[in-house]
């Protein structure tokens, strides 16, 4: 019995090749790593198929990595051992790490000047270091304040326009089974991403103007942190969201009455909560008394690995994807999902999409107030993430001390840092 089992296992072991099928012919292979699934994966697959049939130099192979580990372990381990993909996607939070390590292939020579002109200036600025364009932005995601119209009506609360109103609204909307307001509580880049607009509304920024020191310890910044700390402490803000704050489900299922969320939530609602379409509204993020409206534009960028054997082909493919014919970016931003395109021609040509339902709110009231998401060195990003955690939840330390500590740490870091900022 035992022997038979063993022999079955051995046979299985030998029968199973365990090896992946290798390239079909002798064309050079380009590995393209994405983290998408379903419809979005399909989009990329179609593009890759099209590219493979249009040219005969290389064979692009699309590889899917689960989202949780795309940025972190998988990519880091691959690059650390020289096995990085030829073409990949990068978020603003990691852009500098790759740029400073000379991993990104400059794409200037591959992009036609007239195409470059079509891109918004700030979007190209965000991916350039010393005039070298190191990645191509292909989507812009903005933040807004989503709210449940019925809940607001029931509590006779107006859509909050200022921080104080936000606090009052959250208080009025909180019940035994629903929070008034939900924002990201988990430490990480997303929490920081959500915070930028509030920083900019106060007219401040992370560094001083010549980027030699941190400039966070300002009254406006402290006020913002104070209000949030208060909302968490008093239980008006969701202290433990049931899922990540990128999910509009929390608003649609009644866990919260207001939620900070991004443009992506619109397609999420269309797909998963079509019946809620009429009940959810979106407004610009509340500002401090007398402050200026601000939002943040995030979104992924495509780039080519400069250390790849076929770096030039990789660059050509990356540019073909999103830096040439606008059709693919247009499809991505208006059909596959909803996002603003960094190319003006696409926004102009798709008025019917951008003026529809909640999209119109973003287009008319929020678009134009955004700044590109900060590209920070990972160290600074970590310092700020820690600062937010401590500011929101660690009431044993005063806000002044928390912000001062973050400032000191950033200054300490800057004094020995000579990469791009």
């Amino acid at each position: 019995m035992k022997k038979r089992l063993l022999s079955i296992i051995l046979c299985a072991a030998m029968a199973m090749p365990g090896m992946a099928v290798s390239a079909k012919d002798d064309k050079e292979e380009l590995k393209f790593w994405v983290f998408h699934s379903d419809k979005e994966l399909e989009f990329f697959q179609n593009c890759v198929d099209q590219y493979n049939s249009e040219q005969s130099n290389v064979e692009v192979v699309l590889e899917q990595i689960p989202w949780d580990d795309y940025n972190g372990t998988k990519m880091a381990t691959a690059f650390a051992s020289g096995e990085g993909p030829d073409v990949f996607l990068v978020a603003p939070g990691l852009f500098l790490k790759y740029a400073n390590s000379d991993v990104l292939m400059p794409l200037n020579d591959y992009i036609k000047p007239e195409v470059l002109e079509d891109f918004s200036e700030s979007s190209i600025e965000g991916v350039s270091v010393d005039d070298e364009i190191l990645a191509i932005p292909f989507e812009m995601e903005l933040f807004g304040l989503y709210y449940d119209k019925a809940a607001l009506e029931e509590a006779s609360v107006e859509v909050p326009k200022t921080w104080d109103e936000l606090y009052e609204a959250a208080k009025a909307l909180t019940t035994d089974s629903r929070y008034g307001f939900t924002m990201e509580t988990v430490k990480g880049t997303h929490q920081l991403f959500e915070w930028y607009p509030f920083l900019w509304q106060t007219g401040n920024d992370i560094y001083n103007e010549d980027k030699t020191a941190a400039a966070l310890n300002k009254e406006g910044v402290l006020n913002n942190l104070e209000i949030k700390r208060k909302m968490f402490e008093e239980g008006y803000a969701n202290i433990k969201p049931s899922r990540g704050n990128t999910e509009i489900g929390m608003l649609c299922e009644g866990e919260t009455a207001m939620q900070i969320n991004g443009t992506w939530a619109i397609s999420q609602m269309q797909n998963n909560y079509p019946e809620m379409a009429e009940q959810i509204g979106v407004a610009p993020l509340p500002v401090p008394e007398g402050g200026e409206a601000a939002s943040v534009a995030g979104g992924w960028k495509i780039c080519a690995n400069a250390n790849s054997k076929n770096a030039e082909e990789a660059a050509k493919f990356a540019v073909w994807m999103f830096g040439d014919d606008p059709a693919r970016m247009e499809q991505w931003c208006t059909q596959t999902k909803f996002a603003f395109a960094p190319r003006q021609s696409i926004i102009d040509a798709n008025e019917e999409v951008y003026q529809q339902g909640l999209c119109a709110e973003f287009t008319n009231n929020i678009l134009g107030t955004e700044q590109p998401e900060k590209r920070l060195p990972a160290e600074v990003s970590t310092i700020l993430q820690d600062m937010l955690q401590s500011a929101y939840f660690d009431t044993s330390v005063s806000l002044e001390d928390t912000v001062t500590l973050a400032e000191e740490s950033i200054n300490d870091f800057l004094s020995s840092y000579d990469g791009a900022l």
Partner: protein
């Protein structure tokens, strides 16, 4: 007699209470896996049966290659378990029973390999696997998972407790050291081997990070990677994650159920001891 019965009934009641507490989260997992996606976070202990659905399970199994991913996990976990058990039993025996120079040092060294978090050695290990040409290959997942101080340590502790008399009589009959191990000791270690087999199978079945790093192609994914893939950047298909997790927990439960008698029947050394 009645006193004993009352006592027994109380014990059963106690066990029942504890079991309810322990099993409750599992129940929660199972019941949630039948909920529609909007109801997953609806904290309802006894949801209306009409709101439950088999759809999640259907979707999971129609997911590209989910069956194949399960097979991969099965393949990896089985090979690691079988090979590891044999190796660890040998090591454990040598360390517990045989006299040789450096025994203590080797034992301490082996235990010490447990104390470095895997995330720290992951990159160096990946480089080694790359140099062996095993990237994107199931064997690249299997081979590094075989050596494991946990099993060696457990066997070592187990062999310490087996009475020496058993082996000595065999040795007098002229058996070699390995012969004693193979014919006398190994069969005795069935309970611990089965216990360990369950643990190894489970650890490898649930392994996520290392298989993710090694496997590139979707065909080579293990089941936990497929489950992680139900989470996308901005939205997680929680109902599918939960259903797929139930599916993936099932083999372990079956395995335990089948082998549990052997685990707990104890070694028949009772007569010899003392």
């Amino acid at each position: 007699m009645t006193k004993k019965k009352v006592c027994n009934a109380l014990l059963v009641l106690l066990a029942l209470a504890i079991a309810v507490v322990i099993v409750f989260p599992v129940y929660l997992l199972i019941i949630s896996s039948f909920k529609e996606s909007q109801d997953v976070f609806n904290m309802n202990l006894f949801p209306n049966p009409s709101t439950l659905t088999l759809e999640n399970y259907k979707t999971v199994f129609t997911e590209e290659n989910f069956g194949g991913n399960i097979f991969n996990s099965f393949y990896v976990a089985t090979i690691v378990t079988v090979v590891a058990l044999l190796f660890h039993a040998m090591s454990g025996y040598a360390l517990a029973r045989l006299n040789f120079r450096g025994r203590k040092v080797i034992f301490t060294w082996i235990i010490s390999t447990l104390m470095i978090p895997f995330s720290v050695i992951m990159i160096p290990l990946f480089i080694i696997i790359k140099n062996m040409g095993l990237i994107n290959n199931l064997w690249g997942i299997i081979i590094p998972m075989i050596p494991n101080a946990y099993g060696i340590f457990l066997f070592h502790q187990f062999f310490l407790g087996i009475p020496k008399e058993l082996e000595e009589s065999a040795k007098i009959d002229g058996a070699s050291y390995f012969g004693v191990f193979w014919r006398i000791v190994l069969p005795l270690s069935k309970p611990i081997a089965v216990t360990l087999a369950v643990a190894f199978f489970l650890a490898n079945w649930n392994n996520y990070l290392w298989p993710l790093i090694v496997a590139q192609d979707r065909e080579l994914w293990l089941v936990q990677i497929a489950i992680a893939n139900f989470k996308s950047a901005q939205a997680v298909e929680w109902n599918l994650v939960l259903a797929a997790s139930c599916v993936s927990a099932l083999p372990i439960i079956i395995l335990f159920f089948v082998f549990q008698k052997q685990i707990t029947e104890g070694v028949k050394t009772a007569g010899i001891k003392g």
